[in-house]
Amino acid sequence: MLEIQDLHVAIDKKEILKGINLTIPDHEVHALFGPNGCGKSVFISTIMGYPEFKITGGKIYFNQKCINDLSIDERVKLGIGAMEQRPPTVRGVKLGTLAEMILQMKGETLQGISEISKRYEMDRFFDREINDGFSGGEIKKSEMFLLMIANPSFVILDEPDSGVDPEQLKTIGNMINQSLHITELPGERCKTGDRSSSIIATHSAAILDYVQTDKAHVMIDGQIKCSGNSLLLMNQIRGYGYDYCVKCQQSIDNNEKK
């Protein structure tokens, strides 16, 4: 579904991503770990096509199509959807208006998704300006709600657990699972047919208590330094911190040099 080949990205001529290689197949959910400032958000924003992030090398393929030169909305039309870590406040524009516009593009209406909006208590935000005065948890819920109604086939989540209290985190987890079409039925892990693909960037890994992932990657200093079992990597990071990953990687690098 998503294939990144030797991706280099710079901001104001400073290289931030230094040769990322990553593949996320259909129906797989991957976690992206990394300490603050390692380049996770730049990576996420580059996949989405934000123009301030200049690709200086490499390719991004989505369903075998190179999307390097596509605009943000063209990528959305292909089936990519994102939840931003810090979305802007859009003054004067009501959340309900944006939701209606997203639904209109799919030939649907707000009324048609009333079950979702009621379940997650989003209808009370419809008359509020987008993200204006929302708490951290409310911003995440609003972003997840917009993703759920857009229903993309590839879901990008940037720090869905940052600034969210434990109670709300469970709700966010439920929303993510619903948006990825992950059900809690026994044996679901074996039946991946309806599931969306996703990459979940998380610094704390807290959201992984609620969302199961197939694989995880650790990004350090603009490169994927380690990939493997999500649970194993998460436990290592929770137990020893990212310092452990850095040291581990340094020793591997040193051994390779020898």
């Binding site: 943000i72 909305d73 959305v76 979305p87 004067g92 524009v93 208006t97 944006l98 300006e129 917009l146």
Partner: protein
């Protein structure tokens, strides 16, 4: 060039001899039944649908020919001003050039001294209209000079929403519209005055308006302009004379290259516990906009706020926001805010990430910027279309 230099350079001396003085002709066909499709469309754009039966009454000044419907509602009068002056001689003493000094400037003098036309609308004591009265001013003749004098009297406890559309004929590029409007809002009355302008690119427009507001009365002024004239200066004046009276101005306009719009408002609060709010929004596509608002707190408990904001959507053009406060009483309390800037591309990118195209995102942000919470009864569709038009202008020309 400094912005202030640009704005003052654009002040335009008006050469009256350039324009044809429009006179009333006795055999003009009634436009209520014979209006051309072009003129009908022009008027409809500014809220006056001549094919729809009027709810509360209607007035149209076509060049210099007044046409009006007799209001079927008891307690409501709509007359051409000259007819009203003949019928009610006391108007001269009570209302005619009593809110505005006839010698205020060359334009008020032009109205006072030349043949003028306009409406007299009176809503009698405690009559509260459920629907708006629609009026329109159309300059059909090229280079015509329309010389207008309007008087509105809202008697004690009465309510009126007046919607006035000012427009040039579809193919008329040039003309001069001068209008003196005097409004008298008696105690406990409410007057909502919605004005919509849509002019040809070489028009010069000089409205001079004043409103006297008595005790416990409310005055609301909404102004919308989609297609600005070459040059307009309009600084309506409101005097909150009565205690506990209030005024609110909402101004929304789009500015185009080679246009100059000086639109503002002055409110004098001389009654005790009066309140005023001036809100202005300008979207600049390359013209010059001056947003001037002045509140004068001259009595105990007077409260006011001025809010001027502009969006610059072009590399050319000027927006100058001049929110002004003047206190002449120690208990007056007023505040102001002004903000001018470009569209935040972070917001555009964000909306694109939800699937909107760049143009859809920009239009939505502009709509949000222009959304100042005004709901104009009887004009929902037209206003919606107008705001849509302003917001979609960004998709053209670049």
């Amino acid at each position: 060039m400094k912005k202030s230099d640009a704005s003052h350079m654009d002040r335009l001396p008006v050469d009256f001899s350039k324009y044809k003085v429009l006179n009333k002709s006795d055999n003009r066909p009634d436009p209520f039944s014979t209006l051309s499709q072009d003129d009908y469309d022009s008027l409809k754009q500014v809220g006056l649908d001549m094919k729809r039966p009027p709810d509360m009454g209607r007035f149209l000044l076509f060049d210099h020919n007044p046409f009006f419907t007799i209001s079927q509602t008891e307690g409501v009068e709509i007359l051409p001003l000259p007819d009203a002056m003949n019928r009610y001689p006391w108007m001269m003493e009570k209302y005619y050039f009593k809110a505005i000094d006839r010698n205020m400037d060359e334009f008020t003098r032009q109205v006072a001294e030349g043949e003028n036309q306009g409406y007299f609308i009176r809503v009698k004591k405690n009559v509260r209209l459920n629907h708006p009265i629609h009026t329109g001013f159309l300059i059909h003749t090229p280079q015509g000079l329309q010389n207008v004098h309007n008087i509105v009297v809202i008697e004690e406890g009465a309510h009126l929403h007046l919607i006035t559309g000012c427009v040039s004929g579809k193919h008329n590029q040039e003309g001069l519209h001068i209008a003196v409007s005097e409004n008298y809002v008696a105690s406990n009355a409410k007057f909502i005055n919605t004005m919509i302008h849509n002019w040809g690119p070489d028009f010069v427009v000089r409205p001079r308006a004043a409103t006297i507001v008595a005790e416990n009365a409310t005055f609301v002024s909404n102004y919308y302009s989609v297609s600005p004239p070459k040059n307009i200066e309009s600084i309506p004046y409101t005097h909150l004379e009565g205690n506990h009276s209030s005024a609110k101005y909402m101004t929304v306009l789009a500015s185009m290259p080679n246009s100059y719009c000086d639109i503002g408002g002055t409110v004098l609060m001389s009654g005790e516990n009066t309140s005023a709010e001036l809100v202005a929004r300008a979207v600049n596509y390359g013209g010059t906009v001056l947003q001037t608002g002045l509140l004068i707190g001259a009595a105990k408990g007077s409260r006011g706020h001025v809010d001027c904001s502009g969006l610059m959507l072009s590399d050319g053009g000027v927006i100058e926001a001049v929110p002004g406060l003047r206190a002449t009483h120690p208990d007056a309390r007023m505040s102001h805010e002004a903000a001018i800037g470009k569209i935040d591309m972070g917001e555009v990118n964000y909306l694109q990430s939800k699937g909107l195209s760049e143009m859809q995102a920009i239009a939505l942000i502009i709509r949000g910027f222009l959304n100042i919470g005004v709901e104009v009864e009887g004009l929902d569709t037209e206003l919606e279309q107008m705001i849509q038009q302003i917001s979609e202008l960004s998709g053209h020309g670049e």
